[in-house]
């Protein structure tokens, strides 16, 4: 079990510093947005400064944090009372513990690198200041998400990163595709948010609190009373996690999100925000540990997603979309890991960290390639670029090797144990999950090798082509502000895995937050066999990729005469088709028909009373003929009635 926070510490010292972690980037956003055009020249430096300051602060907090076992490693500090109504006492508070600090370092560290990279990448953009403002907003929200000590604070950060993601995907807002992708991302995330919100409501209903501490300390009691409630909470949380992390069935927004500038894809849609779902599940380990059904669903979603992501990634020609689907599938691995339950949460976080390094590096590499290729993303137009961009090629290669799980690089240390843990689930479940993870490893090797071939090797197809705006391609290496972060991330891709797993460093450090780590021991096959099997699958993927792509020239036009497998993969395993046919099209039809119904039916019925009265009076006024004698007659008739009535009353 995890530790509970010893006590609420006042917002001084380390807890006070945590507040500044969130505030610094937020202040940066405010300065850059309110400052307006005056700050166009210097704004990006403000943004960079704030993130670097936050990183330094985070590092100091990390260094001064008591190691596990020595005093409290989980510290809650409530800053102020946010929404107090009778029993509901929502505090605005932060929690500093190994898990949140790990994320703080990842977010501010990778964030700072990507800020540096963006200075070069966005150099020519007139709205660079705004871009940095939004990036800072993202960093602030993401830090709030991981630092919050209650589900409501987490939810605030959760929606905040959604907003930042919306703004950044749609940053080039004059492109209709970017605007649509941004909207799609936000709306699909909102679907997930409904799940998270309902989970919070259910917690309050059952336990009367929304703080981590209160919920985790009482969830056991709830589990004894009604296990179904815990499963419901877990599944609702999972829905939220699926939305944010682009997991099936809410995966379709993530590839579209590549419409945003590449640094955004690297930071938000690869390294940090999309992993928030993994964070959520790891954070809620006390809840998920109590519900086997909930965990099973998490693993199933993870396994399905990692396969869907891999398959879709195999057929894409857009370099960023390949990487996006790769992200989807790698997060599937993380879900698989955190779903496998007590003891292996740390593996999910480990893969999250190493993935943060190599995927961010890969995206930055892709950005560097696009930067040299007139912002073209179609790999069929690349080819032979390794000669023109040596640094990009080198860093990209290390990221690639790490991603496919090449031995002794980061990905190997993090992915291999997950596959082992999947087999360790035992029985049919173990075979299915492990098999899916193993197959995924092979497919990953295939599509990444395909990407490498098409981009860096083979014939330089771009020499005979022009980009859409008619310019010739002049591939060149990117400036130092872009290559330096790539190099740093490449180093991370090489060494991070080894460093973090050495002596179970990360697992031990995280144990106060997510529980003790226990090495998975597959019973159905030996761990060595799994490792060997994984390596064989990877080798197979690479070889098949060479057979399909590497040994023959790549056609610039996308072949249309292809087998159903490729068509399925190109259709993203049906993701968007399902969304379109089930939701978008009926939704638009419903909207249009309701608008008509509103005008033609509802409004008519309500105003009908008025028009009915008017029609009645139009009839009745016809009795006013203007002939005095007819009036006299009606007067006489009326008098007679009155007299008769009087007589009847009198004598009856």
């Amino acid at each position: 079990m995890t530790e509970t926070a010893e006590m609420a510490v006042p917002a001084t010292g380390m807890a006070g510093a945590a507040m500044w972690l969130v505030l610094l980037p937020l202040i940066g956003t405010a300065i850059m947005l309110i400052g307006g055009r005056r700050l166009d020249r210097t704004g990006h430096l403000v943004g960079l400064l704030m993130v670097v300051a936050a990183f330094v602060l985070g590092l100091l907090m990390f260094l001064s944090h008591p190691a596990s076992g020595e005093g409290t490693s989980i510290m809650d500090s409530n800053l102020f009372s946010w929404m107090p109504v009778e029993q509901l006492q929502v505090e605005f508070g932060l929690r500093i513990d190994p898990l949140s600090l790990t994320f703080v370092l990842l977010i501010t560290g990778v964030g700072a690198l990507i800020h540096i990279y963006s200075i070069g990448y966005m150099h020519h953009d007139p709205d660079r200041r705004k871009f940095f403002a939004y990036l800072n907003l993202f960093v602030a929200s993401m830090l709030l998400l991981v630092l919050g000590n209650s589900f409501v604070t987490l939810y605030a950060g959760w929606e905040g990163v959604g907003l930042a993601s919306y703004l950044l995907i749609g940053f080039w807002s004059d492109r209709p595709s970017a605007a649509t992708a941004a909207k799609k991302a936000f709306i699909m995330n909102r679907v997930g948010d409904v799940g998270l919100a309902l989970a919070i409501f259910l917690m309050f209903k059952e336990m009367g609190t929304t703080s981590f501490d209160g919920v985790f300390s009482q969830i056991g009691a709830v589990a004894e009373q009604s296990p179904g409630t815990v499963t419901a909470i877990a599944l609702l949380l999972l829905l939220g996690a699926c939305g944010k992390s682009g997991q099936v069935p809410l995966q379709a927004w993530l590839p579209d999100a590549m419409e945003g500038p590449t640094p955004v894809s690297a930071l938000i849609h690869a390294a940090t925000m999309v992993t928030a779902g993994v964070y959520l599940i790891a954070r809620c380990s006390p809840i998920f540990n109590l519900t086997a059904d909930g965990q099973l669903v998490v693993t199933i979603i993870g396994a399905v997603t990692l396969l869907v992501g891999c398959i879709a990634g195999c057929a894409k020609d857009d370099i960023k979309k390949v990487l996006a689907y790769s992200t989807v599938s790698q997060i599937g691995y993380m879900f698989l890991a955190v779903g496998l339950g007590a003891g292996v949460y740390a593996l999910g976080i480990l893969h999250l960290l190493t993935h943060g390094f190599f995927k961010a590096g890969l995206f930055l590499g892709a950005g560097s390639v696009m930067h040299g290729m007139n912002d073209d993303v179609d790999m069929r137009r690349y080819g032979g670029l390794w000669r023109k961009m040596p640094i990009t090629f080198a860093t990209f290669t290390f990221g690639y090797l790490a991603l496919i799980g090449f031995p002794f690089l980061s990905g190997f240390y993090s992915k291999d144990p997950i596959i082992e843990a999947a087999f360790a689930a035992g029985g049919t479940k173990g075979w299915l999950l492990g098999g899916a993870a193993l197959l995924g490893a092979g497919l990953t090797a295939f599509y990444m090798t395909r990407l490498m071939y098409m981009t860096f090797f083979g014939k330089a197809r771009h020499e005979e082509l022009r980009s859409a705006d008619g310019r010739e391609y002049h591939p060149h290496e990117s400036p130092a502000s872009m290559t330096v972060p790539m190099v740093i991330l490449a180093l991370g891709s090489i060494f991070a895995g080894f460093f973090l797993t050495q002596g179970e460093r990360l697992a031990g450090w995280l144990s106060p937050s997510v529980g003790e780590f226990s090495e998975p021991h597959p019973e159905i096959v030996s761990a060595t066999a799994v490792t060997v099997g994984t390596l064989v699958m990877i080798a197979l993927g690479v070889v098949i990729a060479w057979l399909f792509v590497g040994r023959k020239p790549v056609p610039v036009q996308r072949p249309s005469d292809v087998s159903w497998v490729i068509r399925l993969a190109r259709a993203e395993v049906g993701g968007d088709v399902i969304n379109e046919t089930l939701f978008a099209t009926p939704g638009i039809k419903l909207t249009n028909s309701l608008v008509v119904a509103e005008e033609k039916a509802v409004d008519r019925v309500m105003t009908g009373f008025g028009t009915g009265l008017a029609a009645l009076s139009a009839r009745l006024r016809r009795t006013q003929t203007g002939y005095v004698r007819s009036y006299a007659l009606s007067m006489l008739g009326g008098s007679l009635i009155v007299v008769l009535a009087l007589l009847v009353v009198r004598f009856a």
Partner: protein
């Protein structure tokens, strides 16, 4: 003395007046019929005054006569002006005030 005869006479006069108002078109005749009705009412007022032995009904009859006189003045003036503008004393011709 049997007051019933007076009341029957009053009812007869009133009925003749009412029928006259309803069936005749000439404004002057209608007017005279209205007068007939008023006087029928006057007759019953006076009769009841006699029956009850106090003067309330008589006073009422005076009021009616005053009102009738005023009405004749105004009414004849209106009929005259209508006749002048339309060259007709038929009340069915003056039906503009409708709907």
């Amino acid at each position: 003395m049997n007051p019933d005869y007076y009341l029957i006479l009053s009812a007869l006069l009133f009925g003749i007046g009412a029928v006259g108002v309803l069936v005749r078109r000439n404004a002057i005749v209608v007017f005279m019929c209205v007068e007939l009705m008023l006087n029928a009412v006057n007759l019953s007022f006076v009769t009841f005054s006699r029956i009850n032995g106090n003067l309330d009904g008589v006073v009422m009859a005076f009021f009616v006569m005053v009102v009738a006189a005023a009405e004749v003045v105004v009414g004849l003036a209106i009929i005259m002006s209508i006749f002048r503008s339309r060259r007709s004393a038929s009340i069915d011709d003056a039906n503009l005030l409708k709907y």
